[in-house]
């Protein structure tokens, strides 16, 4: 009986691994999740959730144009991601419209442009895979691009880890001690665009913002230590990817949606049961009965 259970769990875990596309999907999504999770702790602390949403939606026309021209899609996405940020900054500075309005305005404009372009260009672009991701059908050249971009983001974030933390925490002090705040601001935005580019492959444009904020928010509830927050954020993102992909394999679910839903459930769990900041405050509960 026990043995039977064990072996069925074993099949549950190993069966999918016999498929090449599943191994690839697991590897890619975990990598992408780790990158987005790393960035996520900065974005949640800086309060850039809306910015993440904006950048990830704005890459849409870039992806379409790049496909149409036969360029690497990451290049097009990156240009439009950064372009949207620049445009947001410009409109905000030159008009009296409030920042969140400008952000919403710019990214929906870009997104709409992308959708119109898809309908006009009518090449072999798979709108569904752009919008919802297709981790099970990633091509080899996409794998290479994703690995390269991921490495770049991880290196940048690792090198400027502490500066970025200081920038999020107290930009005034950073400026006072001669740290280039302008550079850090655009570094973070660049990493955001790049992470959105890799993230959209696994979960698609619409949900990529979840990869960029949910792990960080989960980690924020679980720790008071910045380094731990980064680690928890990365781990929870990877675990969600693995859970999401397995679920989509066994229960035939949309992969991107499953991954994000797994992240949401982990967040919910932290929200309810986090030792200090959960609504049930388990630590207090235990210490009362000691």
């Amino acid at each position: 009986m026990d043995l039977c259970l064990f072996s069925s769990i074993n099949t549950f875990v190993t069966d999918p691994l016999t498929h090449e596309f599943m191994r690839k999907a697991l590897f890619m999504s975990s990598l992408v999740a780790a990158v987005c999770g790393f960035l996520s702790s900065y974005l949640t602390l800086k309060g850039w959730a809306l910015m993440g949403d904006a950048v990830s939606h704005s890459v849409m026309p870039g992806v379409v144009v790049a496909y149409a021209l036969g360029l690497p899609f990451s290049l097009g996405a990156f240009i439009f991601g950064v372009g949207s940020v620049a445009l947001i900054g410009f409109v905000k500075q030159k008009s009296r419209v409030k920042e969140d309005t400008v952000i919403g305005l710019v990214f929906t404009g870009f997104f709409a442009l992308g959708i119109v372009l898809v309908s006009k260009i009518k090449s072999n672009i798979d709108l569904h895979s752009i919008l919802f991701g297709s981790p099970l059908g990633i091509s080899i050249s996409d794998v290479k691009q994703t690995v390269l971009i991921s490495l770049l983001v991880v290196i940048l974030l690792s090198v400027f880890r502490k500066d970025l933390m200081l920038y999020c925490f107290d930009p005034r002090h950073a400026k006072t001690i001669g740290i280039n705040v302008f550079f850090l601001h655009y570094l973070l935005l660049t990493c955001l665009s790049l992470a959105a580019v890799v993230g959209l492959q696994t979960v698609g444009i619409i949900l990529v913002v979840a990869m960029l904020i949910t792990p960080g928010a989960t980690a924020y509830l679980l720790t008071d230590q910045f380094d731990n927050m980064t680690i928890i954020s990365i781990l929870s993102a990877i675990i969600s990817s693995v859970i999401g992909i397995y679920c989509s394999f066994w229960f035939d679910l949309e992969t991107g949606g499953s991954i994000v839903l797994a992240q949401t459930f982990i967040f919910l769990f932290a929200f309810l049961f986090a030792p200090r900041y959960g609504i049930f405050k388990f630590k207090k509960f235990f210490s009362n009965y000691k």
């Binding site: 602390l45 090198v159 502490k162 500066d163 933390m165 200081l166 999020c168 925490f169 107290d170 930009p171 005034r172 002090h173 950073a174 400026k175 006072t176 001690i177 001669g178 740290i179 924020y220 720790t223 008071d224 230590q225 910045f226 731990n228 927050m229």
Partner: protein, 254 residues
């Protein structure tokens, strides 16, 4: 090369103006401070105190005027870790996941390598600074779990760890108890004796009398500036606070 009058002054601000998207917050402000001087910055809410600090740290750009620190540009003063800024409590996200040690270590970032790896000397500086503000028992306490006064002391320790010769303190006495107030004002006297230059904003008139050599009264521009004994008069204070009589500020005995 002659730069005669610069050598005497730590801070020199000449006719500085700051505006936020066209809205003027500070205009034609002048200030010059020498080593070992403590200057109080007094003005009502929205008078431009924080703005003044922001322009001296370079956090906002001045639209007009000139700032010289030790006769050099602001840029090189920043690079040399000359200026330390202790923020107003409102300017800080107290839920940020860092502890006392982390915050004080940030004071050393400017003199570390790119990766900000602390050396032995940095660790020592941080320890000394934390000891001076009497927070040794709170080294690994997250700043969110500190009291307001303890948090103030943490940021003061960061400024100490930075070993800056100019300290800019935005309302260091707001929301602290008598004991912390005493500790902070004793530290200020020590800094003064070490030759540091201090500019602090405060709403408490008693402190200005107690240990400020100079006082700068502002209301979007300089209302009065000079030796405390000469400038800190009821008339000047009244005009700084838009007609409120000093009795209200000092209590009836003054």
């Amino acid at each position: 090369m002659d730069k005669p009058n610069y050598q005497n002054y730590r801070i020199e601000a000449e006719n500085i103006c700051v505006d936020y998207n066209g809205k003027v917050a500070l205009y034609d402000a002048n200030l010059s401070l020498k080593p070992g001087q403590i200057c109080g910055l007094v003005g009502m809410n929205g008078a431009g105190k924080t703005t003044f600090f922001n322009s001296l740290t370079g956090f906002v750009n001045i639209s007009k005027g000139k700032i010289r620190i030790n006769g050099e540009t602001l840029r090189s003063a920043q690079k040399d870790q000359t200026i330390a800024y202790v923020p107003q409590s409102e300017g800080i996200d107290s839920q940020f996941p860092v502890n006392v040690w982390d915050v004080v270590m940030m004071g050393r970032y400017g003199s570390m390598n790119v990766l900000r790896c602390p050396r032995e000397s940095d660790i020592q500086a941080v320890k000394d600074a934390i000891a001076r503000v009497d927070l040794m028992d709170f080294l690994s306490t997250p700043i969110g779990n500190l009291s307001g006064g303890q948090r103030k002391r943490t940021f003061l320790a960061r400024a100490i760890a930075q070993r800056a010769s100019i300290l800019l303190l935005d309302e260091p006495f707001t929301g602290v108890d008598i004991r912390t107030e005493k500790l902070i004002s004793e530290l200020f006297i020590q800094f003064k004796n070490e030759g540091k230059t201090i500019l602090l904003s405060t709403h408490d008139m008693i402190h200005v009398r107690e240990f400020c050599d100079l006082v700068l009264l502002i209301n979007k521009t300089v209302v009065a500036y000079g030796e405390t004994s000469e400038v800190f008069t009821p008339e000047n204070i009244t005009s700084t606070f838009g007609g409120i009589s000093p009795d209200v500020l000092f209590g009836p005995e003054s």
